[in-house]
């Protein structure tokens, strides 16, 4: 009997285990080994930490990383600020039927690939784009303005592509909140601001945290949007990795950067969880 259960379990787990092993564990081990390899002065392959040291000695690398992490945090905060009112409106203010309709409306743009959506923004914002065209016609400006390839358009694009991953956990956590909690707090003397900060936010905290983790990771690891909307001087860390692999053909350096990205972003999230007193297991369930 015991054998049957464990063999059944094994059958169901096999695809998952294979997937984890072949696509996650083995490539990462390969990358880890690669990142620790280098050449000595003779050009012979040796084990070395020099790829990692590069990150700390060359200013441009850790500067890029700090910039990327800071902007990813900013994107996370902005995404939260944009989506929270939306999620609150959908779950607590409109009727059930309207709320389903609005949720679908939120999801529809995400059926289109990220690439197409970013190109959409480019069509709107570029020098010969839709926005410039109308502003010229209306006489607001005399010469077209280049609105692409700067930090603002890049951040905006990242917020736009991340929104869904914040709004869904927010909606699901706010949906679980009984409206009478808000009324009870109001009845006990709380103002709107207190209700928001002491009741709604703490209640939605697990949703906020899980949404923030996903958005932060996605923004940090995003290559497409910073590259297309931020242009060549976007200085996104993923571009650094890409350049090492494709442009410089220095796979050992690229692998080391990849690992550093993994470690540093995990560290940032761990710190964030400690500060907000959330537990990863509870947040992700």
């Amino acid at each position: 009997m015991k054998f049957k259960i464990s063999s059944g379990l094994f059958i169901f787990l096999t695809p998952v285990l294979l997937w984890l092993l072949l696509l996650i564990v083995i490539p990462h081990l390969e990358l880890l080994l690669m990142s620790l390899r280098g050449e000595n002065d003779m050009g012979e392959p040796v084990w070395t930490f020099v790829n990692y040291l590069h990150f700390f000695t060359e200013e441009i690398y850790w500067y890029t990383f700090v910039r990327t992490a800071t902007y990813a945090l900013l994107v996370t905060v902005l995404t939260f600020l944009v989506t929270f009112p939306v999620a609150f409106y959908i779950t607590k203010i409109v009727s059930n039927r309207v709320s389903v309709f609005l949720t679908i409306l939120l999801l529809v743009p995400f059926w289109v690939s990220e690439l197409v959506r970013v190109y959409g923004w480019m069509i709107l914002l570029r020098e010969s784009g839709v926005l410039n065209h109308f502003m010229l016609r209306l006489g607001i400006i005399d010469t077209p303005i280049e609105m692409l390839y700067n930090d603002v358009s890049m951040i905006m694009g990242l917020v736009y592509t991340s929104m869904l991953f914040m709004v869904v956990p927010l909606i699901s956590s706010l949906e679980g909140m009984d409206d009478s909690l808000i009324e009870a707090a109001h009845d006990l003397g709380a103002s709107k601001w207190i209700i928001f900060t002491k009741i709604v936010i703490p209640y939605a905290a697990p949703g906020i945290t899980s949404g923030s983790i996903v958005v932060f990771m996605l923004a940090l690891g995003n290559y497409l949007t910073p590259n297309l909307l931020g242009g060549k001087n976007s200085l996104w860390f993923t571009e650094q990795i890409y350049n090492e692999f494709i442009a410089s053909f220095n796979w050992n350096q690229g692998a080391a950067f990849g690992f550093l990205l993994l470690l540093l972003s995990s560290l940032i999230i761990w710190t964030g969880l400690k500060i907000s007193k959330q537990q990863l297991g509870r947040v992700m369930s």
Partner: protein, 360 residues
Amino acid sequence: MPVVLNISNLTKDFSDFTAVDNISFQVEEGKFFSILGPSGCGKTTLLRMIAGFLEPTSGDLQIQGRDMVGIPPNRRPVNLVFQNLALFPMMNVAENIAFGLKRQRCSKKEISSKTAAMLDRVDLGGYGSKNINQLSGGQKQRVAIARSLVLDPSILLLDEPLGALDLKLREQMKIELKKLQQEIGTTFIYITHDQSEALVMSDTVAVMNAGKFEQIDTPRNLYASPDSSFVAGFVGETNIFTASIEGLRPTLTVRAENGVIFEATAMQEMAGAKRCRLFIRPESIILEPDTNLENLNRFELTVRTILFDGSNTKILAMLGESEITVALPQNQQFAHIAPGEIVSAGVHMDACKCYPGEPQ
């Protein structure tokens, strides 16, 4: 006793119906006042207007002489215990109770002493650091009441707070709530559709139907002399017959639907009415009555079923063509009665209460 709540001509219209229809009443300080009515009668709307979550369409609402229309719930001296309690799950018991005190900007010391005193009062001393989901249903109930009472409101509003509890706990909480109210002396306004809750706990009960109060009275009067056929049917168990009026003088004589003729008491003006509803309480039917009792409607019952329920045992019997419920006296005198037996029975004309009108 001074009046703490004064409501006059209060009306609440929604787009398609009137939930509260021109209600006026007063509640004296320190009373346990219940509003009893079937679901959908407008009692929750009325309560929410007192709490401040709804604004009346018209009419006046005064609490301790101060006009309350237009004042938001967080500035009213009343607190509401919600039907589903609405305890804050992210706070522990003590934080839940302290929530309102913090909003009043009490000092830390005052908050902790008041919270501890309130926890003792509701027999939850030492539970302060527990999480809400560690508590049983009855304990949650008491936390919800404590959370409101600690603010020392002029009126405590309770919206069917016992609805979610199982029967045994509900019976126990009924008694606890009544005791608590007597101890602290705060005015309670209690909303329920459960007549036994209203009758057991209240000083005064208002029976509400279709947006209006049918009767405001003590539980005893409500039970003994209902003002309307709705109250007679809603409060307490009763046998209801439709009947046609045979004669008005010297005593009201009616013929019930089952063909039996009763001498009855008119509870409302009967002149002009052809049909009426006849109410007979199960406990007012006397089995094997003494032959020299006067003013008794006498008839024979065919016993069909015995509904044994301890001290609350009843029999279902046939009277003419319809069924009637009869309460058995508690002294085991009729323990021998078996289904199929025919027993003589009687009911005093005062206990046969008639209201004019067609059945609802």
